[in-house]
Subunit: 387 residues, 2 copies
């Protein structure tokens, strides 16, 4: 087990009707709120009204910034920074999924920084001070509601980049599983794929003696795997939606990283796909993860065999552990397919002609991944395995 | 799953040599530290010197309060409050296990409170402001290093009582598994019993649809069960000590309580035992928990059968789940015995003549436990099952 420091500063407020508390929670930070959301789907089922009512009842003045797109854009972040400065917002309230939250986190980071906010993403600057952020989560997926990560796409070159800072964790996050009842099933399964990927990125490590976090990873994965079929049959099943929603936060709040180094190659490769083709991050991960596994599993057959047995319930082949390992990878791919994800570029209607470009961008700053270090040639091979 | 709020404010600094960071961490809170410890065993292996050096190098003036006993006493807490006020300590540094940390937390709570600090324990007062607390953990057990709980024994009547407050969580906790290499094995297994009890108190709930937390409870229990035999054979096995140490914090930081109500009857009953007989809390729990289980398991045979299968690896008897449930309870008791715990009053040399008194004190404010509500008569029966 590696040395680590761990603290999750985000207060989680979880359960039925909790979005009505947003005003009271936000008012602790001041009286001017910048409300950020996406395409307006939050207006469809009354969530927007409930949030606005709660904020206003708590005495907050609300400035709005809508229109966040999936794979959120730097231009909107910059617009938000200007707005935040001009309106002197005391807190940013993100109502949405990962894209909205990441936009809010990026704006929060940029307000007090004199340079270009993109500097945080390129590593040129380190976050020292930010505007507080509150979240009302609508899409359990990215785990951004309590994570240190912020991922933004720079339209100038279509670079999708993330930056990590403990300071980026939102101050509070409201998670009401009822809000997800109306989440389209495709978005639901994209979210589930993303959270599973967050756990698997951590699970596949070369750090030894990490039993506690290994077992917790398996626990969260199994819970997700058991509950998503229930949600697909009964989208308004509170219990199953609640398990998925809480799992999504735990998957990415770094508890499961304690004492270990994750891999993260699949995420980096996927970012290049969704930066160009604008497909859902979860869909890109469903395509890449099984291909990555097929390419790297020989590095630690025991770990992949255990993944197959403990997470997927496969029988261990004592005379051929590699067979068990392979079966686990196949099972993961078929699970993604069953819940409605594409598992090949073909299924996602993505052509094969820009693999070199994606691999080059992805490895621009050197090899990616920690479980196995991958250079450009490796990444091209993985992309080809995902045809 | 029940509604919940969750945030763990304690920063965990985990790993080798981390105690040398205590000065730097403490200095953020001021320049006068009250250093609290127990019997002086921290002086034996150089920990005291390393902590003092780190604090002084960071520019802190150090005031000392040693002599904390197991089942820590209210009188010392009051002495500490006076000292803290007189010396104007900016931070309290607890170097020790649960007793030392709880003493520090109680002192921290009392300094700004005008009334009797015992008011927090009787529910007469609510904690609003405290002195910051930093921890260097020496005994993985109580989980007090990042928990909301503080347990103190009032010598006036020998009442052992706890109080819970989110504000009581220490500001930071330093966990170096190497420090536990020299921890006597009896204290090690008492600690392990305590942490297992913390998880089982949460695991046995009547709240439905808590799969994620159920599975995480099982994950942490299995990790402890797998690693303690290694520690008993090789006390200086870093990997096993590290798993146990991190498990002890997670067991009691309330992550495993999210969305559910724990039972806590066994803890309440045990507090009456150790308040009178001054045995180790872990030893008392090893006596009470299997007896409690035998008394209540019929309330939810499926849950107890699952505990037997998932935690203890028993084979499920599809035709007689109750048999599996019972086997799990027997397995827990025999495990406690194997690692060196007493599992009956007889083995702990505790006479049977004060069961009525303990049961009366324990249920003074009404029935205890949530999985099953237990009145005085029930508690007497459980105590008799533990003969």
């Amino acid at each position: 087990m590696d040395n680590f420091t761990y603290r999750n500063a985000t207060k989680i407020i979880f359960g039925k009707d909790t979005e009505t508390k947003v005003g009271k929670k936000a008012a602790r930070y001041g009286n001017r709120a910048l409300l950020i959301y996406g395409s307006g789907s939050i207006k469809k089922y009354g969530l927007y009204d409930r949030v606005l009512k709660s904020l206003k009842e708590a005495g907050l003045e609300v400035i709005e910034l809508g229109g966040v797109q999936p794979n959120p854009r730097l231009s909107l972040v910059k617009k938000g920074i200007d707005l935040c400065r001009k309106e002197k917002a005391d807190i940013i309230i993100a109502v949405g999924g990962g894209s909205v939250i990441d936009t809010a986190k990026a704006i929060a980071a940029g307000v007090y920084y004199e340079g270009d906010v993109w500097d945080f993403f390129t590593g040129k600057a380190e976050l020292k001070k930010k505007v507080p952020v509150g979240v009302v989560l609508t899409i359990p997926a990215a785990g951004s509601e309590s994570s240190i990560s912020t991922v933004i796409t720079n339209e100038d070159g279509w670079y999708k980049k993330g930056f990590d800072s403990e300071l980026s964790r939102p101050e509070f996050a409201i998670l009401n599983p009822e809000i997800t009842f109306t989440l389209p099933l495709y978005q639901t399964v994209c979210g589930v794929t993303d959270m599973m990927a967050h756990i698997m990125e951590r699970y596949f490590t070369m750090v030894k003696d990490v039993e506690l976090t290994d077992r917790m990873c398996e626990a969260v994965l199994k819970t997700i795997i058991n509950n998503i079929p229930v949600v697909l049959k009964e989208p308004e099943n509170y219990a199953a939606r609640a398990e998925i929603m809480w799992a999504g936060s735990i998957a990415h709040n770094n508890l499961l990283s304690t004492g270990r180094i994750g891999d993260w190659a699949s995420h980096k490769i996927e970012h290049e796909i969704s930066a160009i083709y604008d497909i859902a991050h979860g869909a890109g991960l469903a395509i890449i993860f099984p291909a990555w596994m097929k390419y790297v599993y020989k590095k630690d057959i025991s770990r992949f065999a255990r993944f197959a047995v403990r997470v997927w319930g496969m029988e261990f082949d004592f005379f051929n552990p590699e067979k068990t390992a392979m079966e686990g990878i196949e099972k993961l791919a078929s699970f993604f397919k069953e819940i409605g994800m594409p598992i090949t570029f073909k299924e996602a209607d993505i052509p094969y002609d820009r693999f070199e470009e994606m691999a080059r961008k992805c490895t621009k700053n050197g090899p990616v991944g920690n479980f196995v270090r991958l250079d450009k040639v490796d990444v091209v091979k993985i992309l080809n395995l995902a045809k």
